[in-house]
């Protein structure tokens, strides 16, 4: 029986170590965009294709990160509770019922930031480390 705690520790420790570092994700818009802040719901509705305008009524176009990227899975897990398979099912429904098309995906946080900085209609999410003054943080997800 003495072996049990050791056994448990040897099972649980690797699991804990394997957990990805919980990096902070920042939802960004262009510094040219008058929008200052978004609620979790407002941001999610834009990324899920349920809404396509900022609170001030101007057009909003979401930019996604690459499929399979850790930050993408983590963004949707934090905001909607859903994993990649459920997100794919969501987009199958939206696309094939004519409601919305999935956002264009680009390679990484730097690419998202560069595009968002240049276009006031875009909204993206990036790693906090990539944040600089070319874009504005409108929501932070821990």
């Amino acid at each position: 029986m003495k072996a049990l705690p050791t056994l448990l520790a040897s099972l649980i420790l690797p699991l804990l170590l394997a957990l990805p570092a919980q990096a902070e994700i920042i939802v960004i818009v262009s510094a040219k965009n008058p929008v200052r802040t978004l609620s979790n719901e407002q941001a999610v509705d834009l990324f899920l294709g349920k809404s396509n305008n900022f609170p001030n009524g101007s057009k909003a176009v979401p930019l996604d990160q690459a499929e399979g990227a850790g930050i993408r899975d983590s963004f949707y897990r934090k905001t909607t509770g859903k994993g990649p398979a459920q997100m794919n099912a969501h987009w199958a429904r939206m696309l094939f019922t004519g409601r919305a098309q999935p956002p264009v995906a680009v390679s990484d946080s730097e690419a998202v930031k560069k595009l968002v900085a240049a276009d006031a209609s875009l909204i993206g999410y990036i790693d906090r480390d990539a944040l600089d003054s070319s874009v504005r943080a409108v929501l932070s997800l821990h």
């Binding site: 609620s39 719901e41 407002q42 999610v44 509705d45 349920k50 809404s51 396509n52 305008n53 609170p55 009524g57 101007s58 057009k59 909003a60 176009v61 930019l63 499929e67 897990r77 909607t80 509770g81 859903k82 994993g83 990649p84 398979a85 459920q86 794919n88 099912a89 969501h90 199958a92 429904r93 696309l95 094939f96 019922t97 004519g98 098309q101 264009v104 680009v106 595009l115 240049a118 276009d119 209609s121 875009l122």
Partner: protein, 369 residues
């Protein structure tokens, strides 16, 4: 109108080249962020179903002439289908969709049909209009019921979706979305017409198809309500009405949904037929596996003097997300037919006894690309 809207959409598909040069003005810096001008996507299901009742056929909907049970021990016709969709983004406000679906249909063939063929114009980000063939959003999942990959269940509960007589229309509609800090409300009004061929090869004409469809979404909550009516030439008086209320809650680790629908129709002999149906569905997500249970019932409300179409079903199943964009589902349906009723069974053999219990097992795979 049918051929017209298909032609309209086909014409629209030829326009992107012309639109490209126009689109330059709309999307100067961020063309990398714009959706593809032209996209081809598809969805499909390969399924096998087997019913314990040998005197009648279990079918997906009442446009399928045969199914599993009497005609086949194992039928691949009940659930299998393939759909292709061409989406054209003509400019930042105008898009066109053409969706062709091949599935087992009224004449026993898989001849492809045009499911969607419409042009959509966004007047503002919140207000858009469509013209062409549009699938009706009559019930919570009626316009996505063919896209198996987007749903948890093997197929929508037959009791409820059986009452969806008209699935699409050649129509014009307007959609307005209102969003606030924590919700989105979408309302659509539609007007159109449609001719559908039933399993007796009769063309049923629906005109003055009018509908109001309402969807409220707040986080994991979706509420849906719809009202729809039409003039239909095989009824006396030629009037059919449908209404539905639905709710779904999906926070991620588990999910639940419920829907209630009511259909009011007349037969050719001026007899009013009122039917109601509902289902409850719930399940959990355990990694790649999503086991679920469903309870559903179809009940006749009006006294028709004829054998009532009534049944209820206990179903249990599991969806397994095998890999990206592919799932496998197994579902068991235990159907209890009302006394003196064959329920939703079709193609009943003479001498078959009404009432009783039917078991159906289904194994299928859904995919999107």
């Amino acid at each position: 109108m049918t051929a017209y809207s298909a032609r309209l959409a086909a014409l629209a598909m030829l326009l992107p080249l012309a639109a490209d040069s126009l689109a330059d003005d709309d999307l100067p810096a961020a063309s990398a962020a714009a959706p593809a001008t032209l996209a081809l996507n598809g969805f499909g299901t390969l399924g096998l179903a087997r019913s314990s009742e040998r005197g009648a056929d279990f079918v997906f909907d009442n446009l399928q002439p045969k199914g599993t049970g009497r005609s086949h021990q194992w039928s691949s016709d009940v659930d299998s289908r393939l759909g292709l969709q061409l989406t054209a983004n003509l400019n930042s406000n105008l898009s066109a969709v053409l969706q062709i679906v091949s599935e087992y249909r009224w004449d026993g063939t898989y001849t492809p049909m045009v499911n969607w063929a419409n042009l959509r114009y966004a007047i503002t980000p919140a207000l858009s209009v469509r013209i062409g063939r549009i699938a009706l959003d009559s019930f919570m999942a009626s316009d996505s019921r063919k896209i198996g990959y987007s749903n948890v269940m093997a197929r929508p509960p037959t009791e409820v979706y059986r009452l969806l007589v008209l699935r699409d229309a050649d129509a014009i509609d307007a959609t307005y979305r209102y969003s606030d800090r924590d919700f989105v409300n979408t309302v659509t009004v539609l007007y159109g017409q449609r001719t559908v061929t039933n399993t007796r090869s009769v063309n049923v004409h629906s005109t003055d198809v009018a509908g109001v469809f309402e969807r409220f979404e707040q986080g994991p909550l979706t509420l849906h309500a719809a009202y729809q009516q039409r003039r239909v030439d095989n009824q006396n008086p030629p009037l059919g009405k449908f209404m539905s209320l639905g709710a779904a809650w999906d926070p991620g680790p588990w999910f639940a949904s419920a829907e209630w629908v009511k259909a009011i129709n007349f037969n050719a002999a001026n007899l009013k037929i009122i039917r109601a149906a509902w289902y409850l569905n719930g399940g959990v997500r355990l990694g790649d596996f999503s086991p679920y249970v469903t309870l559903s019932e179809l009940k006749p409300i009006s006294e028709t003097g004829q054998a009532p179409v009534g049944q209820h079903t206990y179903a249990a199943g599991v969806r397994w997300d095998v890999r990206r964009n592919v799932d496998v589902k197994f579902q068991w349906d235990h159907i209890r037919l009302n006394d003196n009723s064959f329920g939703t069974l079709q193609n009943v053999a003479p001498g078959t006894r009404p009432g009783g219990k039917v078991n159906v097992v289904s194994l299928l795979t859904d995919f999107v690309f």
